[in-house]
Symmetry: D2
Subunit: 288 residues, 4 copies
Amino acid sequence: MARPEPFVVLLLHCPLRLGLAADLTHFVYNQGGRILSHEQYVDPQIRHYYTRLAWDITEVKMTDGETAKRLKELIGEDEDTEWALHHSDTVPRMAIFVSKEPWCLYDLLARTGSGEWKVEVPVIVGNHPDLESVASRFGVEFRGFSVMKENSEDVEAEQLSLLDGKRIDFIVLARYMQILSPRFVAAYPNRIINIHHAFLPAFPGARPYHSARERGVKMIGATSHYVTEILDAGPIIEQDALRVSHRQSVEDLIRFGRDLEKVVLSRAVGSHIAHKIIVHRGRTIVFD
Amino acid sequence: MARPEPFVVLLLHCPLRLGLAADLTHFVYNQGGRILSHEQYVDPQIRHYYTRLAWDITEVKMTDGETAKRLKELIGEDEDTEWALHHSDTVPRMAIFVSKEPWCLYDLLARTGSGEWKVEVPVIVGNHPDLESVASRFGVEFRGFSVMKENSEDVEAEQLSLLDGKRIDFIVLARYMQILSPRFVAAYPNRIINIHHAFLPAFPGARPYHSARERGVKMIGATSHYVTEILDAGPIIEQDALRVSHRQSVEDLIRFGRDLEKVVLSRAVGSHIAHKIIVHRGRTIVFD
Amino acid sequence: MARPEPFVVLLLHCPLRLGLAADLTHFVYNQGGRILSHEQYVDPQIRHYYTRLAWDITEVKMTDGETAKRLKELIGEDEDTEWALHHSDTVPRMAIFVSKEPWCLYDLLARTGSGEWKVEVPVIVGNHPDLESVASRFGVEFRGFSVMKENSEDVEAEQLSLLDGKRIDFIVLARYMQILSPRFVAAYPNRIINIHHAFLPAFPGARPYHSARERGVKMIGATSHYVTEILDAGPIIEQDALRVSHRQSVEDLIRFGRDLEKVVLSRAVGSHIAHKIIVHRGRTIVFD
Amino acid sequence: MARPEPFVVLLLHCPLRLGLAADLTHFVYNQGGRILSHEQYVDPQIRHYYTRLAWDITEVKMTDGETAKRLKELIGEDEDTEWALHHSDTVPRMAIFVSKEPWCLYDLLARTGSGEWKVEVPVIVGNHPDLESVASRFGVEFRGFSVMKENSEDVEAEQLSLLDGKRIDFIVLARYMQILSPRFVAAYPNRIINIHHAFLPAFPGARPYHSARERGVKMIGATSHYVTEILDAGPIIEQDALRVSHRQSVEDLIRFGRDLEKVVLSRAVGSHIAHKIIVHRGRTIVFD
């Protein structure tokens, strides 16, 4: 297969400023870049601008460093301005954390294994040994940690060191049934993606399907979100829901929920890998 | 149009008992009844039986009173057994309570006005005069009440007396922005249907669309439920949800939400009118 | 209620041209206009640009004629370029065509009657007298036409003359069970909106719910589209679908379908009224 | 893990007969069986009865042969009656046919590999070698066949012999891009499950996502069905659909469609494995 053309993605949000969009597209054009996509959103209430601009750099002579320098001038500095430039040659490195439930892990590995996503998976971390065989099926290193109340600080320190050694960019909690400490979360701000098996903010915490059955809801849901210090309260990336009825037992809800969970988690991970998500003021902007 | 054939509906729940279903169908058959539909559900966890049995009584010689007497013998008595027999000639009488938002009221009146539902609407109660013109458009009596903290007890007493005088069977709160007292609720147990503009148990209480936008959810929902003493905690009858994104403002959510609200409320009301809902242990069984 | 601020909406599509978006926003800014929303889409395959730009003209001194003239210079001319400028003071005039089914008509009239849409309904046209009473309920003129094979040309001529006299801008076929001639369609290009009670291109033509039941599909749908010469083949504006099962009879499908039909039709009509739809090469671009 | 209790499933359809349901449940009870679930459906139009009855046979002394003999007496014979008894100890044997697209194969193997389904996969058949590595990842035998117009009859004969040798019960076409001959289909009546990447009957045949984009639909779908002689016309088991817009390219539709395809296929396969599907008159009854 021919090597795909190299491209860069600019992900930016800043206070709305007339002409900035034109300045950005002219800059790309003047460099010799070919715009692949340009998505924009303005929040009219707070007059804030969000954009994702991708361009082919085959014909671009400028180095990435020069490009970044020029963008810095164009965009300017401001406490409510953030941007990043991502090069298609830089493949993100994802760690997957698991406990005993296999479905989300299988779905993630199938997508990486089949080339659907351009991502590396250097390590799978488990707090139970159950899924080591799944990891080995896909040839991915598995690292087991036995976590208890007494040793949880030490374990997290070890895990952080492991992730650091593997140069991990972001972490996916694929039904990882362990709460991360604020210190751990702070090491990967907006870079830990969790799947919660309920339609947040309904049914946070443990055993949401049991609570859903107990409450008699007529739909169940799943929510993927970035992890923050507060449990199940981070910025929501993706949600979906499914009709159920009185006929479904808790076991049925768990079974039906699996497909929701894996699809909702994988959509979020796919958007993260493709640099389509901006987090601002506790909410996400997810470009199509 | 020819008068439709008369039929009765038995709505029953009781502890599971072998042979009861056969006894019921044989009873109908022996009377000369023609079974129109027979829906059954067994909750295997609590071994409880729920059924809705409808039969054409054109050829039945037995009076309703005799039928009820025989059913009583067949079904037996038990503290966890409840049943009711509904005759197609008895048209339920529905009161609608409204405030200022018209969309649910219009939808309910369009369905009654077009004959989609077999129901009478003797009165619309409003705590604001805004929707009187809608009521008069459909030729339905409108009764306005000015409710304030000081007079709420008196107003409820007047309303109960009004409903009693109109022989109201059940009440629909069509975006009625007033909390009913436990005394009022107790007068119509499992016979007051409310629409809440959120996916309960997420976002109970006031201004759920604002909360949804604030939280950054990716779907909005609506919930219809029977009203109990505890706000927004009654048995859920129907729910639905709709995908939204960062692009939608609170105003957009309110606009999109209208269609959800009216459809979710009307589905619940339609099921109630057709005697398809059983309430048991805080949950509903809603037959198709 | 205070008069809302006046605004204009530009709806434009043209071959992609660098800097056009900036030229448009600068033009608005230089006039003193305040941009309310700016939606853009580029089809990367055909390099075509689609945009909807709305701005508040409270502080704008330029007349609409001058604005149009300046836009003409900015945008230029091209056989694949089309644009229109809509002023918020110009209220569109909608005719509704009906047969016997009331639900879509009720839904349209409820939205116009409650002020949800800014639209005039000068006339309802029926090929059966059944819905005259609904029209009169909402105080709208009803004009009945008895259409037969022999007189259909004459009837259409009369209808066109009626619509012309009422200065109708667009027509909604709210379950109008009569096929319009090419001549009629040509008089209102991309200005006749139909609802088809199936998920097109599945089940075009008559009795789609019967066909759906016959085929054993597990979902039913509804499609709103602009009418073209070819039956049920015009540009699709909106679609939605609903899960069903073997348990639903044809009558159930018809009943469940009603809510789909009215919501799908009304979403399309709402987008048309708000000038959010561009038709290009047989497809629609519908801005949020 | 303790061995789960053995149970049997009766799947039956026959002309409606008063008392049959009671006879069946009494028969189970008299044997000492414990009913686990009992789902019933009557099609009122054709007065036909469909049921799935599952019971725990831990305490049952009767052999399966005796049970079958007694059921035969109870149910009787009729040209429109069909039934089968499935024992939980008999694990169905599934062959998977693939071409080049991996997502459905991965999803099927993840479910079998994780024990979500009780099924054996003795062989994967490919008409391209591309997915051999996926098969070997899960330790499943892969058999490649190079199919051309000239040799297709011979290849099918070889495949049938292979399937026969492996004692295959049913076949899943997991994006197998080859049309099976009537002879092949006849060897596995209602036992070949296909996934079509469109909302049938819309867009049968090749390249449905291209057709969907071309037609400008606002939702895409997927359909799983039993294969019959006529292409894409067999009894539908499961369907689902997803909203799309003008913003999605064909490539986006293909990408979004993957998740639909695998979920819709796997739901069908799961229902087949659990003996929840009855095919009658070209349609399916799928119990929950």
